[in-house]
Symmetry: C2
Subunit: 231 residues, 2 copies
Amino acid sequence: MPKFVDAVIRRQEVVDAVFRIIAADGLERASLREVADEAQLAVGSVRHYFASSDELLTHAFAVVVDRIVGRLNDADSRLGDLAPGSAKHHAAVMALLGELLPLDEERAVDACVWMAFKNAARTKPFLAAEADRSHRAVAAVVGGLILGLAAGAESGGAAPNDDDSDGSAGVDQQVLVTEAELLLAVLDGLTMHALLQPEWMTALMCKDVLEAHLEGLNRRMTAGQQAINAS
Amino acid sequence: MPKFVDAVIRRQEVVDAVFRIIAADGLERASLREVADEAQLAVGSVRHYFASSDELLTHAFAVVVDRIVGRLNDADSRLGDLAPGSAKHHAAVMALLGELLPLDEERAVDACVWMAFKNAARTKPFLAAEADRSHRAVAAVVGGLILGLAAGAESGGAAPNDDDSDGSAGVDQQVLVTEAELLLAVLDGLTMHALLQPEWMTALMCKDVLEAHLEGLNRRMTAGQQAINAS
């Protein structure tokens, strides 16, 4: 095997070991020694790929953010041509937001690792830049979704790209920011509860709660637009 | 000073040191040695009051849960006689839920410590019983609030205790459970964002987002009841 391929695979094995440790025992146990043990490598071998624990953790954080943001962007691209208000659009929105929730084993590990890193960034400054990138990427997708729903309400259910309005007659900008922050809070709150109380906050319950929130969101967007049209 | 008073004060000083360490550096730094240093005591003195790190952390978790639940119950008792739908009731609901959010310095420390312990309970089984007690206490207050709003919608705005209905004609039980879980997710999500991005998710923004959610919740409760009345 060429040496650079070997290095890519080894680095990924080390990152996978970090993920397993975080999922089982929490981020504070992910020292170079524990990670080396988990990956069945010598500490020296791990050091060959990552100069320090900080470098390893920053890289592992970036890997999980890339994975989640990649899935989000894929799901987002499937929203494009669907008309807001249609059943297909709603299903695509649920699929998009479901990428952030621990709805199956793969997403549960990602969500658990992602939460651990985001929370750790509060007290570990070397994780702050990656936490910021993660937040911006998710906020951009969720903000875009809210804008799409608002544009759909404005044009009475046509797809956003069929709408040639300049948006000036749409729902107030501050309302859209508040709705985006509310949806982001719902997503992180549900993720937290699903990770901490998996026997109660099941995948089914997560979806039910998210459905209830989206129903209210759609109703508010439509009602807001009707109030504007009537004024 | 009598010896038992001294012990109560010393234990509280040690717990305060735990809180400061968690707020500044995270739970994983709250070892007996670090806590002793922070409290300016010898490790032996700390051990005199807490036999182990696990015992100290469990006690500190219980202290913050008691404090938050105490404030919640006080605020909850002020809701009792107010009519749902009235401005006074709404203000009391905001005050009640605001006890859980990091809206000022005292509540920010409590929320930060509380979040750290709840998250740590996932991987530290000795914290699980306290996490469970915390969850049940908050869920009981939030569940009671949702029931009160539903009863208010049912009786057309009278206070819940003026309502002698048996509740059988009210909004579906499953809807109430979903609304309670949604509100709990909003509260923990907002707390998380306010702690991780305090310059963006300010106290004002927290309140705006919570207001938006409560407005939607009230509308859903009223609409649900109207649908039942019309059927």
